[in-house]
């Protein structure tokens, strides 16, 4: 049994067909470890070598990768769910009920989609915090921060549009409240809401618009932005890290001997970053990939467990005549709704606008080139404190809005 299998494995991997798939030999030499990365379209996302600093778990906490992983999970589960989902006000709710009740594994897949979506909003925000607190958006990475802000907006947009699709009370009123907050914007507010909903109230027009945005427009935008985001990471010399010290010594590694220039002849020579500061660089295959695999396994296993035991909410069928009390926007907007409670202008217009504009401008305003790649550097005390306060206050507002607000938006204690 055993020799037979080994023979076959050897024969298979030695054959022409196998070789046409995988161009590298057994992954036991550094050359092949490099080739695995460069000759594999998925792994080619990574450079062959990465900075030692950047693979330290507690530097990135894997938040960017985790966000991407959740995005992939969402795409796959989303496609599967779309086979059953019908974007019609009369059938949407029923199709979700069918998925939950009589489609094999439908309940679990929907749970995965739901929890992964919430998880992604959280990991994306945390990823942004990590980038801020390690000053990773410093030159030359300002633009990638900007892309990141748009990725954050796309993530929230995807989550928000997906919120309506089950067409239950939760969805209906969250979107009604959420879009009403948008209408507080001066001059254009009402128009924005009108265009978004395809009408004045949440109805069939809104459902199909949200469906198209959720399944086509925003995922496409997301994929485009992700491509730029990743490409930029590579172009900006991998992810950030502290100033390198040591000898920028060349190590003669020739990945592609036939190549005499890089990047369409704009960059001459075979020089790649990995060849400098050799003591600071490690092979991706041995130092990064295992960590990613581990993180992936743990994340998926955790998601599976959560999805088996915790059901995604599905309330009563949407009924425009019956408003639940309180009617709450999706949780990530509850901080804003809490503010709207005090001042519609602040919560509905000023704060969201200033947040987005502020986030976009951060890398161009906060330009002291020091302490990049260091968590919470004392030299960046002021910006860190400001940003920290902002994040903490939004978090507190969201927690208050989520757990401490009951009927008529009165203060309640959740226990």
């Amino acid at each position: 049994m055993k020799p037979f299998l080994e023979t076959w494995v050897r024969r298979l991997t030695a054959g022409r067909v196998w070789k046409s798939f995988f161009r590298h030999g057994p992954v036991n030499t550094d050359l092949n470890r490099s080739l695995v990365i460069t000759s594999n379209v998925a792994l080619h996302l990574h450079p062959v070598k990465v900075r030692r600093d950047s693979v330290r778990f507690w530097y990135t906490i894997g938040l960017g990768g985790l966000s991407f992983l959740l995005f992939l999970v969402l795409v796959i589960t989303g496609i599967l769910l779309a086979f059953y989902y019908v974007p019609s006000t009369t059938l949407a709710y029923r199709s979700i009920k069918d998925i939950d009740n009589v489609v094999s594994y439908g309940r679990i897949l929907r749970n995965m989609h739901r929890w992964a979506a919430h998880g992604m909003v959280i990991t994306v925000v945390l990823h942004m915090c990590r980038v801020f607190f390690t000053y990773a958006f410093a030159n030359p990475r300002e633009f990638n921060w900007v892309i990141g802000v748009f990725l954050l907006l796309s993530t929230i947009g995807l989550s928000f549009t997906g919120y309506l699709l089950p067409w239950d009370q939760l969805a209906y009123w969250a979107i009604t409240v959420g879009t009403s907050m948008a209408s507080y914007a001066p001059v254009v507010g009402e128009k924005i809401r009108y265009v978004l909903l395809g009408g004045n109230v949440v109805g069939q027009g809104a459902l199909i618009r949200f469906y198209v945005l959720h399944c086509f427009v925003l995922p496409a935008a997301m994929i485009g932005l992700l491509a730029v985001h990743f490409w930029r990471v590579r172009k900006d010399g991998g992810i950030s890290g502290p100033q390198l010290v040591g000898t920028p010594e060349r190590e003669t590694v020739t990945a592609f001997p036939s190549k005499s220039y890089g990047l369409m002849a704009i960059v001459p020579g075979q020089d790649i970053t990995a060849e400098r500061y050799p003591e600071h660089y490690v092979l991706t295959w041995t130092h990064l990939i295992p960590k990613e695999v581990l993180a992936t396994i743990i994340a998926i296993a955790a998601l599976n467990l959560v999805s088996v035991f915790f059901n995604a909410p599905l309330e009563e069928l949407a009924d425009p005549r019956v408003t639940p009390n309180p009617a709450k926007a999706p949780w990530y907007f509850l901080g804003l709704q809490e503010l709207v409670h005090y001042s519609a202008l602040v919560g509905g217009v000023l704060l969201p606008a200033l947040t987005v504009i502020g986030l976009l401008c951060i890398p161009y305003l906060d330009t002291r080139r020091e302490a990049t790649g260091v968590w919470l550097s004392r030299r960046r005390l002021v910006p860190n404190v400001i940003f920290g306060l902002f994040v903490v206050s939004m978090t507190v507002l969201i927690i208050v809005g989520t757990f401490f607000r009951g009927a008529n938006w009165a203060f309640v204690t959740p226990w």
Partner: protein, 661 residues
């Protein structure tokens, strides 16, 4: 690192095992396996009639009711009688409801509620399920859902629902609440213009304070009013005093004392008791007269009796042709006979009365506002107008109200269901919120329960029109034409008699086909001088004191217009003495005399028949005997299933019964 990956790999594997078992361990699969092993199926399989149900989720798609019911995935025996004694959940559906409502067309959850989409006990909402509004109805309230489709007031197969709806209508709920259309009716209380002429402030105070102190079965509910509010309302009501110049105003004022004895005779002759209850006996159409003498002013009453339709434009009460003298006599009798003790204002209220004209004006204005606030105008119009729109919330969809939106106030020891909430609310309107303006209707447990049940079914769902059973084209009352119409309204016939199901139910004789039923001469005499046809009934036709011309005109019209083509007008059957003899034998054999008096002996359940040959048309008798239920669905006259021959013989016999003999 490798170790970590391996361990987490195992974790991943376990998590997938957990996912995989989710499909295999579904509850319904186990239930279906169990079904194959129950006694009924084992027994039949020996018979060769093996259990052949295919495994899998079963569903009934009812698009017209927007429902998909998968209940039969587990309730596998509901439609087969052989499972009548099977264990739950396989038992046959009890009763014959499924024969009238085929599950293929109606599904399960339209009646029982619960979540039809689900295929497990918990998620099917057999019991309260979070985020599913249609918890299965308990057996006791099952008739509620009949009302969602059956939009007619009466649903014969659902007596509780019907009683609940009749109560809703009788209590006048639609005065304050927007309810289904079939509850709409004329205002429940009298118009208030002229009440200042009719009664006294002291009576009004007592009445507003507690209507039941005056009338123990008062239809007016008790409002929780402060003395201050009552005084304002009282002043406002007393200011409604413009009805003081009726066409036949009695000029010779009470200096001329009425004669109580003559009044008493007139009251009994006029059959007031047919509509008004007196000392607990009598009709329920009009107010009880128990203590009316403490309420109305004598001169008002006398004028009222002379000018009924002036004071009562809706013409519920008939216009007797009383003279001034008669009216004064009756008023004197009523005030003397039907009174206990004059009402007086307590001193504390006396102190609240306005002292100046400007104060009075303020009070009147406040009273008008209070009238609108409490929605009094939902039942009582003023000169036919309402002051304000309905003050209560709309209830057309109350059955769909989410339980999460119910406020139980301090009543935290109650299972928080919609039906409990509604029951407590109608029973004791201030139970959750002491500031509620809804008045107390003094409902019994049973009434409150039936109203709750009827309201639970008030739901506006996306049901297709073909499922909705609306009131069969209720024919609207139209005033008959010409001189007959004038008389018809003058004598308020429609208050007691019905025509095409419209009208009162005091009389047992609908007028729809009265012309085919009775003979002209008899009818004319009866209108002039009504005799008791059914001596047992307290409700009898009153004496109208109409002229012979009027009686002839009415009898003529009725004979010509209120007829049925199905009943032969001229009866050519051989009414020979031979067949009459056969009819008599039949009559005696069948025990008709248990209920009818013939030849001076017999029972009192049905009308006496000794002069029936003078009274009824032969065609009617024949048709009635053939099929009594066709002509009166309410009758308790048994259908004997007579052959044509038998009915002819009986008719021949009965037509020989003439009073002149």
């Amino acid at each position: 690192m490798k170790t970590a990956i391996c361990i987490s790999g195992v974790l991943l594997f376990i998590s997938f095992l957990l996912i995989l078992q989710d499909d295999f361990n579904q509850q319904w699969k186990q239930v279906q396996q169990r079904f194959a092993t129950i006694d009924e199926n084992r027994f039949y399989s020996a018979d060769g009639d093996a259990y052949a149900a295919e495994p899998g989720v079963k569903q009934i798609v009812v698009s017209g009711l927007d429902r998909v019911d998968r209940c039969t995935t587990c309730h596998l025996g509901v439609q087969e009688s052989k499972y009548a004694h099977a264990v739950a959940p396989f038992t046959t559906h009890p009763g014959d409801m499924l024969r009238i409502h085929d599950p293929k067309e109606f599904g399960c959850t339209a009646c029982h509620l619960g979540q039809g989409y689900a295929v497990s006990f918990e998620t099917a909402a057999h019991e309260k399920l979070e985020f599913w509004n249609e918890t299965m109805l308990p057996r006791e309230l099952l008739q509620a859902t009949c009302g969602t489709c059956h939009l007619s007031e009466e649903v014969p197969a659902a007596p509780q629902l019907t009683r609940g709806r009749l109560l809703i209508r009788d209590k006048g709920c639609s005065g304050c609440h927007d309810l289904n259309n079939f509850f709409e009716d004329t205002p429940r209380g009298p118009d208030l213009e002229g009440i200042g002429n009719k009664t006294t402030p002291a009576w009004l105070y007592q009445w507003l304070k507690n209507p039941r102190a005056y009338l123990k079965d008062s239809r007016m509910p008790a409002f929780r009013l402060s003395d201050h509010e009552i005084v304002s309302l009282m002043e406002f009501l007393m200011s409604l005093n413009t009805k003081d110049s009726p066409p036949r105003l009695i000029k010779e004022q009470p200096s001329e004392e009425g004669n109580e004895d003559d009044g008493g005779t007139l009251v009994s002759e006029s059959r007031c008791i047919s509509c008004h209850a007196i000392h607990g006996r009598g009709g329920k159409l009009a107010p009880e007269l128990e203590r009316v003498g403490d309420k109305v002013r004598e001169e008002w009453l006398a004028n009222f009796l002379r000018n009924v339709h002036y004071y009562q434009p809706e013409k519920v009460m008939l216009e007797y042709n009383f003279t001034d003298r008669n009216a004064l006599d009756i008023a004197a009798y009523v005030l003397g006979e039907f009174s206990e003790e004059a009402y007086e204002l307590p001193d504390s209220v006396e102190a609240l009365l306005p002292r100046s004209e400007s104060q009075r004006k303020d009070r009147i204005e406040q009273g008008r506002k209070l009238m609108a606030k409490y929605g009094c105008d939902g039942c009582h119009t003023i000169s036919g107008k309402r002051l304000s729109p309905r003050v209560g919330p709309k209830l057309t969809n109350i059955g769909s109200r989410l339980e999460s939106t119910l406020d139980f106030g301090k009543m935290t020891d109650v299972v928080p269901t919609l039906y409990n909430w509604m029951y407590m609310k109608v029973k004791q309107p201030a139970v959750f919120d002491s500031t509620s303006i809804m008045p107390d209707f003094h409902l019994t447990d049973r009434e409150a329960l039936e109203i709750t049940l009827a309201l639970l079914g008030n739901r506006e769902l996306e049901y297709s029109e073909e499922y909705l059973v609306r009131e069969s084209e209720r024919s609207l009352y139209r005033k008959p034409a010409g001189a007959f119409g004038e008389l018809f309204e003058r004598y308020s016939c429609i208050s007691c008699h019905s025509i095409d199901k419209y009208g009162g139910d005091i009389s047992t004789a609908p007028l729809t086909i009265e012309g085919s039923k009775v003979q002209y001469e008899w009818l004319k005499d009866y209108l002039l001088n009504p005799s008791a046809i059914r001596p047992l009934l307290a409700e009898r036709m009153p004496r109208f004191r109409m002229t012979e011309r009027e009686a002839a005109l009415m009898a003529d019209y009725i004979k010509k217009v209120y007829v049925s083509d199905d009943i032969p007008g001229f009866f050519e059957y051989e009414l020979t003495s031979q067949s009459a003899d056969a009819g008599r034998r039949l009559f005696m054999e069948l025990g008709c005399r248990s209920c009818h008096i013939v030849e001076k002996t017999g029972g009192y359940v049905g009308p006496q028949l000794d002069d029936v040959g003078d009274r009824l048309e032969a065609g009617w008798l024949f048709s009635w005997l053939r099929s009594p239920l066709t002509y009166n669905a309410e009758t308790i006259h048994p259908d004997y299933g007579f052959s044509e021959e038998q009915a002819k013989q009986l008719t021949a016999y009965l037509m020989t019964k003439r009073g002149a003999q």
